[in-house]
Amino acid sequence: MYAVLLALLALLLAGVAPRVMARLGSFRRAPRAALVAWQAVSLAAVLSALFAGPAAVASISDGTHGWFACTGEDGCAATIWWLENRRWVVLLIAGSVTLFVLGRLLLSGHRIGTRLRSARARHRELLDVLTAPEHAGRADGIRVLDHSTPTAYCLPGRRSRVVLTEGALAALPQAELDAVLAHERAHLRGRHDLLLEYFTVLHHSVPEPVRSPAALREVRLLVEALADRAAVRASGPVTTARALLTLAQGQAPEASLGAAGDGTTAVRMRLLAAEPMPSIVTLGMYLYAGAVLALPLALLWLAWR
């Protein structure tokens, strides 16, 4: 019974909840709480899928109270052998479901982790021979690539780097540059790379028909919106919005090279104009996160009680 509930919950949290949450545009006005909710939902989905097996085992672990309870004296004696075999079947199915879910997670985590780390390592090697930690009197550790296309990014990891191009330095006035740097440093400080890696791994371990690309896009947008708040604290909303436009103008001619984004820049700019979320709503989002996470734990507890 609880095993079925947990399996349904896993489907609901992996397949339905992300699609609904990706449509809740107002979540973006409280990106931190929204990301906590997204993490809670995804973790609860994983836990539900993993717990379904153990919960099924719990339902047959006690022959007198579980599904296969003996009711009549004669029936019991006759069906003991049959029941024993049924237990093995349930155990086998439950065990394989749990192992399958765990295996998919580990495999997807390994694949994505390896690919990300090797791409970053290669990028760091290139950066380190092409750029110096100090550049034209700057001693802030920012790497400046000698290229005219304005762009700004950070390379996360243990030896992280904030990277600008000469084009970005030329295009951005100081206040806008401060906004850009605050944004990138917020990514590094908050280890947003790990957050994105977690969601990417989960996304790829969910079976194809269930996974929602819109959910992954939404989470990426929330991470950017969160870093934008650091930029706003450093330079204010108007300067941050101007910095976005300045870099967009510089990169637009490169669109033919495949630099086209997913069109979230305008959304981010309009978020800069939005009123902050009322704190009561933010509180509600945290409560939602806690409740969702408690569900699979409660169901497993009920199954084993």
Partner: protein, 129 residues
């Protein structure tokens, strides 16, 4: 020496060696001794240090090497410009890996988007300016 103390120095050295190779006009590449001779004397580098640095750069596929008798001659794997272009491609290319590997301030923009962005900026200026 702790890794923290040596890591930045090694990075500097690798960059200095690459600069040497990029600056060299020699199409056959440079030997370890030639690279060593080109580095500033005040660094007091040992032959083996430069050899180790070149070996590391070869492992990273930033330099290629060819046998010349008993020694190696080293060539940069690409010009400074081509390696910069490779870095920019990795950064600007629109692949899923890039999206997760690096965190950008701006996720690209098309010329068609710019009008919408200007309108959005006007909204921000009006409401929060």
């Amino acid at each position: 020496m702790s890794p923290n103390a040596s890591a930045p120095r090694l990075g500097d050295l690798e960059r200095a060696v690459m600069e040497q190779l990029w600056a060299s006009e020699e199409p056959a590449g440079m030997s370890v001794r030639e690279v060593l001779a080109g580095l500033p004397a005040e660094r007091e580098l040992a032959y083996t240090t430069v050899m180790t640095v070149l070996d590391r750069l070869a492992k990273k596929e930033l330099v290629t090497r060819e046998r010349d008798g008993r020694a190696w001659r080293y060539l940069p794997a690409g010009t400074r410009e081509s390696l910069t272009a490779e870095t920019m491609r990795a950064s600007l290319g629109n692949t899923t890996d890039r999206k997760a590997a690096l965190l950008h301030f701006l996720d690209g923009a098309t010329p068609e988007e710019l009008d919408d962005l200007r309108a959005a900026l006007a909204e921000v200026e009006q409401k929060r300016g």
